[in-house]
Each structure stands twice: as C-alpha cells, then as structure tokens.
C-alpha cells in the first residue's frame, strides 16, 4: 500500500476542504421548515426565591408562539439534569445532589440560571418577549467564593446544609502522617487553581423537533457525545424512549469538555417542540450566555505538603483541596476533583505515601465540570509547583530533583489507584533540557537583566491518565456508565469502506486519522474510506470524545472490527480461490494463497462477499460488515516534560513567554501533524490559564464580571510564541496500536511550567494565576521598595 497515507504519515486533513471553503455544517447553519426560535429568561440574581412569573404581557407580544416555565416542565413530568458519577464521603454517605430542573422550580441559584423560555417566530421577537416576562424574586444571601462557601449563611441546596457536596479522601492517612514525622524537610504551599470558562469558538446551539406523525423527536446539538445525550434525555429526563429520539451532533466547533454535558437549553428545545405542535425550536447561545451558563472549569483552593528525606527523596505527600461545584452538579462534575484529580497526585514520581482529601462545595455560580484535562491539570499544578518549590528550598537543581525521584521501573503501582504501565521519564527530561538549552539559561538571564528584564525558567514533568476508561474499574468507583467504545466497519461491494464510530470529532481530525488506520490495515486508498459519526440513527452506540480517548479506545474498537473483517474476507477469498483458509494471506490490500500465484484484490473479495456466487451461503454469510466494542483494560499514561522560559518587564508587569519546549510521550503516533496541533492548542489554553484567563464573580453582587471577550482575556496570537516540540515513545502495552492520548497534555502541563518560570523570575514562592500584568506588577512593588 501507499505508505504516504498510512500510520505515522503527516496526512493533510480530509475534513479541511469543507472548512476552508465555508461549507462546514454546524448546528446553527441548519434550518428546518417551520422553525421557531427560543430565548431564555435568566436569573439576574445569584440566589433568590421565585415569587411569581407573569407572562401575560409577554405572551401578547408579536410573534410569540409559546412561553414555558418550570410548572410546564413539572406538568409533563420531565426529569431534572443529573450527575452521572456517585461519590461517597469518607464517612460513607452519598454525595448531596440538589435538584436541577431544566427550568427553575421555585428557586434560582446563580446568575444566568434558566427561569423560562420564550418561543417565537424569530430570534429578535423571542428576545423582545423574553424581556417582557415579569419575574418577581425574593433575593437570598449568596456565596460565590469556594474558599468561603463551606458553612456560609447562604445555603445553596437544602440537602447540603453546609454547602458541602462530599468530603472524599484517597490514600493512607496514617502512613502519610508517619512519613511526615520522620521527614528531613517539609515543603508547604497554598495554591489557587483559577476558574476558567471553556470558550469553544462555536457557541452551544440546539434544534429540537417533534414529529407528530411518527411520535418521535430529533435533536440537533453541539455535543461531544450524542449517544450519551440520547441516553440521558431518554432515561432520566423521560422525554421519549431511545428508539423515539434521534440526536445529531453535526460539525461541532470545539468542545474542550464543555460540550460533553447535558444542559437544560437543549432538553428544553426538544421537549417544548411537542408543546408547540411539532414546530422545530432553535436556540443558539449568545457569547454572554456561553460565559454565564456553559460549565466552567478548575476553581480549586489547595494546601499541599511534601516530605523529603535527607537525601532529597520524596517520602510523603498530603493535599487538601476545596473544589467548587457551582450551583448544581453537572453531568460529570463529581469525578473531576476526585478520580480524575487525586489519582494523579503521584506525578512522575516514586512517592511511597500519599493522602488527599477533597471537599466539593456548592457556590452560587455556574456549574463546574470537566474542562480540557479535567482534574489532571489541577493535579499537575499542585505536584509540579510543590516539586519545584521543594527543589528551590533544598537548593537542588529542579531538573535533577525531579530525576532523582522519577519512577523508573514499570509497571509502577502508585498509592493512589493508578498503575503506570510504561514510560521513560528521564529520556523526555534529557531531550527537553537539550532542546531548551538549559545549560545556556544563565547567560540568557544575565543578558535579559542588562535589558532590565526578569527572566525565569520553569519545568512541568506531567503525567496524565486518559484513554478513559476501563468500565468495570470506573464502575467500582461510582461511574454511572461504561466507557468502552464501539465501531462498525461497512465494506461496500466495490471495496470502499465506511467506518461508523461512537467517537465524535470536533476538531481532532478523526476523518483523517481513523481513515489512515483503515487505509494502512486494508491497503486501500484513504479516499475510499469515510468516517461516520455524530448521529444516533447511523451509529449504533458510542460514548463520545473526551478524556483523550478517541485514539486509544475508539481506534482500538475500529482495529478490532478490522480484525473481524480480515478474518471474514479471508474465508471468502479462500472459497473463491478454492484454497484452505489457513493458506490465505493478506498483505498490502491483496489476498494470496501460500505457495501459489493465486491472488485477489481487497475490492474483488468485497464484491465476491456481496454477490455470493462462489461460496456456500450456509457456511459463509454473504456481506462484509463487522462491528466491535472495545473496553480498555487500563488507562493510558501519556507523560512528558515541558519547559517554559519567560521574561517579565518590571515596569509594566507584562510576562512574555519567550521559549517553550514540549517533549511528550504519546506512544505510537498515527499522524504527527495532527498530534502537534493538539499539543500547540493545549499549551496555549494552559498559558491562558497561567497568564490571562480568569473567571471573576463579584463577591458582593454575585454577578459574573467576565462575561465577554472584552472582560475575559482569551490568549491571542501575539500573547504566545511558536513552540519547540519533540516526542519520545514507549508504546502503550494495553492497546494493540500502542497509542496513548494527546488531546489534553498541553493544557495539563503548561500552567505549572509557566508559573514555575514566573516565580523563578520574580524570586517568589507563589504568584496568583492568572499572572496578569496587574498581578505581577503589584507583586513586584514591595521588592522594588526594598531595593530602593
């Protein structure tokens, strides 16, 4: 076959043609006959009781088709939004999940909470009528700061009187305390992992349509996992059984986690369509609604302590984290600060004793859930900031302190569940040190000082667990779903191939990488392979794309189905060529019979399978179509070393990232061009967290102050450098392709690397994220005064 499109080739993306010509098909690009438009009435208060909703004036406004409130939802017995992962507290009690109706019932709990929906003939008319809906509120005390929320007088949910959702722990507390008692040195640090707003460039959107003839529903939606949406809307909201509900996620303009979740607006659109006689209802979020109502990320307050012995070996690590959940538990909120966070607190290090405790806390803010990395960036931030700090306190080189403590033997069982299967952390460190010219840093720092700049360097030796996830293992930890993936391979009679996958591509390039695998395996032209995803009527089932799982889990499912295709095709070929199946070999797209010159091309075998003239259909079923479900046996463990070098202008407080090196081990790589793109994007989201992005709620009013791109600083092209990337490779032993995941690594690694560099430049133990010019300039003032 042509190796130009096989595994490992930098194949240009097949999906690009439609995107660069403006022919993408995103949800808001779709319009259905007789379509109406929804606009949501949202809470202006952080916490209030709803006394009355008066729709009399609004309902008489031009173009209004219907106005619905929580009373209508209750009348139709539509269930509330759910959190799909049960966490138990240390004391054994289940997490305290408050009610989360799709339209408010009696109470609102954050600014932007969905109160009512107006459906009208146009967007503008719906918006105008929504402004005329008169809601009377009784304002209640509120709390938006996670550090203050536990036991605050503002009680977000009745089920959680102290606002604590759960108090969870992991690790051996007694053993860890003992390690600290015998420690030669203890490093302590207090860290805030700033709240972020995901900001996929495509705002969320939905079109819900009820078919009165078929008594069935269709929902077009911006989803990373349409089958999960269908399952939840069927089983928990109770709208319709799954065979009566079709969910389509067409082209989706970025997700980063925020489009995993089942949100109120989408459910409302599909439910209310029946209420208006089956006319479709379209809703597209304004950007401010995205800021207010998309699930946010991070928002941790952490105290951590690291114990080391006299030789500089880490002997113990203990962590206490307060994690904001926001006003309601979003779809996977509870697993983020627990099993996706504390299980990674061993980092790349051999730490014999770890104990972590997490308090998950309600606040009167938008819900918090998985955002690119989900728990693992928070873990890496704690581990890599305290490791860097410990090295500084011990007067050891931060690279060598890390190397001294690296895990070097595999498999390695950490004290916090994870069993690392393969890696070579020293190799990544060596490569990164060379690319970043670590030895030359002193000279660069001195040169920068001559220009009046403060230069710093910082490391992040991250590890993550992704390729989620082994179903039985996560089931035992509280997950409500299994996280296998499915694939179906349909070979057409002419030998072209359709792959139906439960994964969903929203920027990751599956139409190319998945086709590369098929092209490589079947020896056919990549243009004869198409990838079908994002439609529950086409793909039987799937768990979607998040947690860097589409390669390791999704492609493994395809690989397994291809194994079955090959086996079946061999039987067909054997029958046609009148040979024993054991003598049939398949290579480069051709079936041959050992010891003869007989051969058949893949396409010929496909045609033979469908015409079924040359074999006994009682022995071989006609056709060539196979499916497979793959449930991984372990997580995969990408790891690497990122090095950031920054310069601060002390006059302005502006931090400039001048060099950034990333060396990652993703195991085997299908398409290096696409993998590099994933790393670039992740790094910049992490630089955004470190230097520019911060979600701010006003404590006094509970209002979101960062509700537009004029207030929330997304990284722009001039804020970041170009990057130096390289890879190491230890193939993953738990899947046949040897793949790990690459989607989240950049965002996991980079905040710690940048902040270690910033604190190095400033000579400070900690600087708050985002280290904006204002924050940095302020922090420098006492030092300037002292120098004067």
């Amino acid at each position: 076959m042509d190796n130009g499109t096989g595994i490992g080739a930098r194949v240009k993306r097949k999906e690009d043609q439609r995107f660069i010509t403006g022919k993408g098909n995103y949800t808001d690009d779709i319009n259905l006959p007789k379509q109406t438009y929804a606009y949501f009435v949202r809470s202006p208060h952080a916490h209030a009781t709803i006394k009355k909703i008066d729709t009399s004036k609004a309902s008489k406004m031009p173009g209004v088709v219907g106005i619905f409130t929580g009373d209508d939802v209750a009348a139709d017995k539509i269930g509330g939004l759910i959190c799909g992962w049960m966490i138990h507290s240390k004391d054994g009690s289940p997490m305290k999940a408050g009610p989360h109706p799709i339209l408010a019932m009696g109470k609102v709990r954050y600014v932007g909470d969905h109160v009512a929906v107006v459906v009208a003939e146009t967007k503008d008319l719906a918006k105008a009528a929504a402004a005329a809906v008169d809601v009377t509120y009784d304002v209640l005390p509120h709390v938006v700061d996670v550090a203050e929320a536990m036991g605050h007088k503002a009680q977000v949910h009745e089920v959680a009187p102290d606002n604590r959702v759960f108090n969870w722990s992991i690790g051996d507390q007694a053993a860890t305390d003992a390690a600290f008692k015998s420690a030669a040195h203890i490093t302590k640090i207090d860290l805030v992992n700033n709240r972020l707003i995901p900001n996929a460039m495509e705002p969320r959107a939905a079109i819900g349509a009820y078919d009165t003839g078929m008594d069935s529903y269709t929902l077009y939606t911006t989803s990373q996992n349409p089958h999960v949406a269908r399952l939840v809307i069927s089983a928990f909201h109770g709208l319709a059984p799954e065979h009566k509900l079709r969910v389509i996620a067409p082209d989706v303009g970025g997700g980063f986690g925020s489009k995993i979740f089942i949100y109120a607006e989408e459910v409302v659109c599909v439910w209310a369509s029946k209420r208006i006689g089956g006319r479709p209802i379209k809703w597209t979020a304004e950007r401010t609604e995205s800021f207010l109502c998309d699930a946010h990320g991070r928002d941790h307050v952490t105290h951590a302590e690291l114990a080391t012995d006299a030789g500089g070996k880490i002997t113990g690590f203990r962590v206490h984290t307060k994690a904001a959940m926001g006003a309601y538990l979003s779809t996977f909120a509870s697993c983020v600060p627990t099993y996706l966070y504390a299980t990674l607190l061993s980092g790349q290090y051999n730490i014999p004793n770890i104990y972590a405790e997490v308090d998950a806390i309600y606040t009167n803010t938008a819900p918090v859930d998985a955002y690119r990395g989900a728990g693992r960036p928070e873990a890496t931030y704690v581990v890599e900031r305290i490791v860097e700090t410990a090295a500084r306190e011990l007067k050891m080189d931060p690279a060598e302190f890390r190397r001294k403590n690296f895990v070097t033997q595999f498999p390695h069982q950490t004290p916090v569940i994870m069993c690392y299967d393969a890696g070579d952390y020293g190799a990544a460190l060596d490569k990164a040190l060379a690319i970043a010219d670590y030895k030359g840093f002193g000279g660069r720092k001195a040169e920068a000082a001559k220009r009046g700049k403060l230069r710093g360097i910082g490391f992040s030796a991250y590890i993550e667990a992704c390729g989620i996830a082994p179903s039985a293992a996560i089931g035992s930890l509280g997950a409500g779903v299994g996280l296998w993936e499915s694939a179906e391979v349909r070979v057409n009679p002419v030998g072209t191939v359709e792959i139906l996958t439960g994964s969903h591509s929203h920027g990751q390039g599956h139409e190319t990488t998945f086709a590369q695998l098929v092209s490589d395996r079947l020896g056919i032209d990549i243009n004869n392979v198409s990838i079908v995803h994002g439609d529950t009527d086409k793909v039987q089932f799937g768990m979607g794309t998040y947690g860097s799982r589409s390669g390791a889990v999704g492609m493994t499912a395809i690989s397994k189905a291809l194994d079955k295709i090959e086996a079946k095709a061999k039987r067909v070929a054997a029958a046609v060529m009148e040979a024993s199946v054991n003598d049939v070999e398949f290579k480069n797209g051709t079936f041959t019979v050992k010891g003869t010159d007989k051969k058949m091309a893949f396409g010929e075998v496909a045609l033979s399978a469908y015409v079924a003239h040359k074999f006994n259909s009682a022995e071989i079923e006609p056709g060539l179509k196979e499916s497979a479900f793959h449930d991984p046996s372990n997580f995969v463990f990408p790891a690497g070393v990122h090095i950031a070098e920054i310069e601060i202008d002390p006059d302005t407080g502006v931090t400039d990232v001048v060099n950034y090196t990333a060396v990652d081990d993703f195991g085997n790589i299908i398409n290096p061009m696409i993998v590099e793109g994933q790393v670039h994007g992740g790094i910049v989201q992490g630089i955004g967290q470190a230097l520019t992005e911060g979600c701010v709620y006003d404590k006094a009013s509970g209002q979101l102050l960062t509700g537009s791109y004029m207030d929330y600083q997304m990284p722009r092209a001039a804020d970041v450098p170009s990057f130096k990337l390289d890879f190491t490779c230890t193939p993953c032993p738990s899947n046949p392709l040897g793949m790990k995941g690459c989607g989240e690594a950049g965002a996991i690694a980079s905040p710690a690397a940048v902040m270690n560099a910033v604190t190095d430049a400033m000579g400070l133990k900690d600087v708050a994220m985002p280290a904006s010019p204002q924050v940095v300039w302020k922090a420098l003032q006492p030092m300037k005064k002292a120098a004067e």
Binding site: G253, G254, E286, G681, Q685
Partner: protein
C-alpha cells in the same frame, strides 16, 4: 422593511431587512451563506470577517442596511473558478485549523492582511495583525505558519 441590494461573491442579491438586521444575519439567514460565523457578538473574535469593498469588516457589528450597494466577499467566494485561494490552500497545508469554526474569519482576515501589508510578512507582524481573530484550538502556531506561506503564494 426597506429593500437593499448588494453584490455578494460576484452575484447581485437583494432582500428586505429591518433596520436592526446585521450584515452577518443578512449573509447567513437571507443568503444562506453559512460559512461566515458568529462567535462573540462583540466584534472581538473575528469569526464573522468578510470583505466589504475589498476591506475586512466584522459583519456581526455592521448593519446590513448600511451596506446597500456594497460589494461583499465571503469565504464561499474566495476560491475562484473551482481553485482554492492560496490562503485557503496554506491553511490546509500547514494544519492551520482544527474545529474549523474560526477558520473562515481567519482566512478572510489573513487575505486582508496581505492586501494591506504585502506578501512578505514576518511572524511578529502576523501575530499582531491577528489580534482581532481568536482561535481556541490551534494555539496559533500553525495559523502563523499558514498565513506566512499563504501570503508568499498570493
């Protein structure tokens, strides 16, 4: 409702608009040219960039009625005679897009950049000129490479 007419991608078009109808709404909803996107409503993200009389304009913050008689080019009109524009080609060649949502605006802004500043663009210039276009996927690394290469080929 007043009627307006324009030349969009070389074709004469007309339609009735309200005073408040945005140029992007006219392009997307009336003309069905959905390649031009709305990402932020506040002229910050640049997903809505089109060319009006040869200059880049953020169509989410422009009124349709103010563009009566204008010549507009959208992403759909950039490829001529079935051949991709060099900037479109460069974005594919250099993997300058992932989810594709910001891409039409990025490409239109990049073409405008070259029209104003010439074909030889350095990295600093490109980065500063892209101030009005936000991408959440690519980290800009490959967009910068694409714009540089596309500019050289224009």
């Amino acid at each position: 409702m007043p009627a307006i007419s324009m030349k969009v991608n070389g074709q004469a078009v007309c339609g009735d608009v309200e005073g408040r109808t945005l140029l992007v709404e006219f392009i997307r909803d009336k003309l069905g040219l959905t390649g031009t996107h709305v990402g932020c409503d506040t002229s910050q993200c640049g997903a809505c960039v089109v060319h009006v009389n040869g200059k880049a304009v953020k169509s989410c913050t422009a009124l349709a009625i103010a563009h009566d008689g204008a010549e507009v080019t959208t992403i759909e009109g950039l490829a001529a005679n079935g051949k991709l524009h060099p900037m479109q080609e460069a974005f594919r060649e250099h993997h300058g897009l992932q989810c594709g949502f910001c891409t039409p605006g990025m490409i239109m802004a990049a073409v405008d950049m070259v029209n104003r500043l010439g074909k030889k663009l350095d990295e600093d210039t490109i980065r500063h000129e892209l101030e009005g276009n936000i991408c959440r996927c690519t980290g800009y690394h490959n967009i910068v490479a694409a714009v540089k290469a596309g500019a050289a080929n224009m």
